[in-house]
């Protein structure tokens, strides 16, 4: 109190109740208002890529399940797509549908989980408990389909490890009806509540132009009015055969100025969209096998011989996930594996949307892009004495040039 200098510095993180994962924010504050934002990710780095590049693609696939605790299937799916592209694996049509169904159930549980977290960040714990109770149903269905609640382990290179048979449809339908019945209630609770509207409207605004310039993805960009969704822009799995539209905030009578409220709208209505997509999938699902190559040994043989490089993209619940895989045909492990999670694209929006807001809004604005730091963190720079170093642009450029040369040789 004695040295009253404005602006003062307010650190949030690496561990803080507002953050569900470690990340370090430093705010320059003037009273309750944020003047400048800086953040340092890299606190949840686990060296997954490093581990992956010492394993064969089937092992990596299951490692992918563990990149993110919430969107487990998205990373596995995108990695499978990249490897299938390199090794020319023909995926059976039915597998595409199974992948789509599980991906959409994952979207439902992820969005409801987020809704609960958002309510908690606002101090509205009743809604948090309600949301997480509702979420149980989707997790139960996922367990029913895959056998696991969290790390599903259902993806396989060339298809899926389990089928969704017709006798499982009634259970799926039951879950979909459950959510349909609750949707109106959720819209009412989250979007018509006075205190939520008061806290979220005109908070953390990301304009359409800035959303485009900052290359945001997923619900964050859609809430700002950008009509982009990998499921429609470059369809994968069964999405090409399905009929659905991009969810923009105008579905619920909003001006769509890209505030936190719009991000809630987009996520809630994407739950509705997911229900619709799963219904379509169950109706259109073709007969046939779900796995291209049942024998692992043979699959691994083929993969070892495969060479080439591939990019694959998937619309995870938080936005676009992208994997780059490069195989040289000599070794089992890929020569290069690069994971780009959706938060990597969205995190720079924080600097923009936190500026000029109040301390009270930090938790909800930080949560509004649905950050997943353990997906995002790919590097942590630590000096030999334990100090955290900062890499300059030139240094990073030199490193990447060196890496490209190494890959080319």
């Amino acid at each position: 109190m004695s040295q009253k200098k404005a602006p003062y510095e307010l650190p949030i993180g690496p561990i803080h109740p507002a953050l569900k994962e470690p990340i370090n924010f430093t705010f320059q504050m003037n009273g309750e208002v944020i003047e400048k934002v800086d953040f340092a990710p890299g606190r949840a780095h686990r060296g997954i890529e490093w581990m992956g590049m010492r394993r064969n693609p089937v092992q990596i696939l299951h490692l992918c399940d563990r990149i993110c605790g919430i969107c487990g299937v998205a990373h596995a799916l995108v990695f499978a797509q990249a490897v299938e592209q390199i090794a020319d694996i023909e995926v059976p049509d039915r597998a595409y549908y199974v992948r789509t169904i599980i991906a959409e159930f994952e979207r439902i549980q992820s969005h409801i989980l987020w809704a609960g977290v958002a309510a908690h960040e606002l101090g509205f714990d009743t809604l948090f408990y309600l949301a997480w109770q509702i979420r149980e149903e989707s997790v139960d269905v996922i367990e029913y389909i895959t056998g696991n609640r969290v790390n599903y382990g259902i993806m396989m290179l060339g298809g899926t490890r389990r089928d969704i048979t017709a006798d499982m449809f009634p259970r799926l339908e039951q879950a979909l009806r459950y959510y349909e019945g609750l949707l109106e209630k959720m819209v009412n609770l989250f979007l018509n509540d006075k205190t939520i509207a008061m806290r979220c409207k005109n908070t953390g605004i990301l304009t359409k132009r800035r959303a485009l310039e900052l290359a945001t993805v997923g619900p964050t960009s859609r809430a700002s009015g950008l009509a982009m969704d990998v499921r429609i822009d470059s369809p994968y799995a069964a999405y090409g055969d399905l009929d659905f539209d991009i969810v923009l905030p105008d579905v619920y009578d909003s001006e769509g100025n890209g505030d936190v409220y719009d991000r809630i709208i987009v996520r809630i209505f994407e739950i509705k969209q997911s229900i619709d997509i799963i219904r379509q999938c169950m109706k259109q699902m073709p007969e046939g096998p779900v796995l291209a190559e049942e024998k692992y040994a043979k699959l691994l043989m083929n993969l070892k011989k495969a060479s080439g490089e591939a990019f694959a993209r998937v619309e995870a619940p938080r936005g676009e996930d992208m994997h780059y895989v490069r195989m040289n045909g000599k070794q089992e492990a890929p020569e290069m594996w690069k994971v780009k999670a959706s938060t990597y694209s969205n995190q720079m929006a924080w600097v923009e949307i936190l500026q000029g807001e109040q301390i009270a809004d930090i938790p909800i604005i930080v949560a509004s892009i649905d950050p997943c730091m353990s997906c995002t963190d790919r590097v942590a720079v630590v000096g030999q004495d334990g100090s955290a170093g900062i890499m300059t642009k030139e240094h990073l450029h030199r490193l990447s040039v060196r890496k490209t040369r190494r890959l080319q040789s």
Binding site: L10, Y129, T195
Partner: protein
């Protein structure tokens, strides 16, 4: 003289014990009520007692850049002042002035209670600033702003009621005994009753702010400031703050009971002596639980946390307006309509 001192001493100890036990019990009730409304089981009723016992066993850590004297004194001041409020409030039929607890003499009245209620908050502010943590500093600033915001509507409610009692010809309208003996509802006419209901709403809204509960828990704000004022407190100091919160809960609900529901059960049942005191104490606790349920548990379950500027505009704008309208109605009632006045 010695005998009087002894009685006072025993009385103080008894009331303090009652404040702690009743406060922690109320907190337990509050947690169970909130949990049931949130479709949860909730902790057992004894949970707050267990929490305090655990805190008392733990080390009190003083941060390196804190001011230790102030940092350690704040919880004691907060606890002492919160318990002191209870000495001046009627607990059932145990009136603060006169027998059987003559410890406070004839000096305590509503004005004193109002000032005493601000002391725990001020102690928390001092402790927050003394912690030397940016979270605690922000929390302390917010607590000060919140205090400034809710004191005015609270004062309106208390002054309006006391004024009406004075108009009705009662001597010492601010005295707690007068209020307890003459419930405001029996004094005012129909216009005044509407005014009183408005003041009751104001008081119900002041309670969560006074107790830093959602939606007015901005000074503590778990997700924003990780506990704000209390962030650096641990062990015995934190236990004292929790106890002062518990006593304050009883005091705030007790104040609402005193102002608006001072009736006792023993005259109705025709009891006397120790039996009457016991029954009235239980009835008082019941009333306090009802007040707490509506102004704390229910509100904190159905709302999100306000921003600090919303708190100020809510209390200075809306609640002050409601309070002034209520006051105006009571003035009208007192000046022109002498209906219902039977003094």
């Amino acid at each position: 003289m010695i005998g009087e001192l002894l009685t006072t001493g025993v009385g103080v100890v008894l009331i303090t014990l009652f404040g702690i036990i009743a406060g922690l019990f109320l907190m337990g009730v509050d947690r169970i009520c909130a949990a049931r409304m949130q479709m949860r089981q909730g902790p057992p009723l004894t949970q707050p007692f267990t929490d305090i016992r655990k805190l008392l066993c733990k080390d009190s850590i003083v941060p390196a850049n804190a001011i230790p004297s102030l940092f350690n004194a704040a919880p004691i001041v907060a606890f002492a002042s919160a318990v002191t409020v209870l000495f001046y409030l009627p607990l059932g039929s145990i009136l603060p002035v006169g027998t059987p607890l003559p410890m406070v003499g004839e000096y305590g009245d509503l004005i004193l209670i109002m000032y005493l209620l601000t002391v725990p908050a001020l102690a928390m502010v001092a402790g927050g600033f003394a912690s030397g943590s940016p979270y605690a500093s922000v929390g302390a600033q917010r607590e000060m702003v919140t205090m400034i915001a809710y004191e005015f509507p609270l004062a309106i409610a208390i002054v309006a009621i006391a004024w009406r009692l004075a108009v009705a010809g009662l001597v010492m309208p601010f005295s707690v005994n007068t209020l307890a003996a003459h419930p405001i509802w029996t004094v005012v006419g129909p216009v005044g009753i509407i005014g009183c209901i408005l003041l009751l709403i104001v008081l119900a809204w002041v309670t969560p702010a006074e107790l830093s509960r959602i939606p007015c828990d901005t000074p503590e704000a778990e997700t924003e400031l990780c506990g704000g004022l209390l962030v650096e407190y641990s062990g015995r100091n934190l236990a004292l703050f929790s106890l002062s919160m518990a006593a304050k809960l009883v005091a705030m609900a007790g104040l609402a009971v005193l102002l608006f529901f001072p009736w006792n059960l023993s005259p109705v049942l025709g009891l006397s002596g120790v039996m009457a005191t016991g029954v009235d104490l239980v009835f008082f606790l019941l009333k306090v639980i009802v007040v707490m349920f509506f102004s704390v548990s229910l509100v904190r379950v159905v709302m999100a946390r306000f921003r600090i500027n919303t708190v100020v505009s809510l209390y200075w704008g809306w609640l002050t307006t409601i309070g002034l309208i209520g006051m105006l109605l009571i003035i009208l009632d007192g000046s022109f309509l002498f209906g219902g006045c039977f003094s």
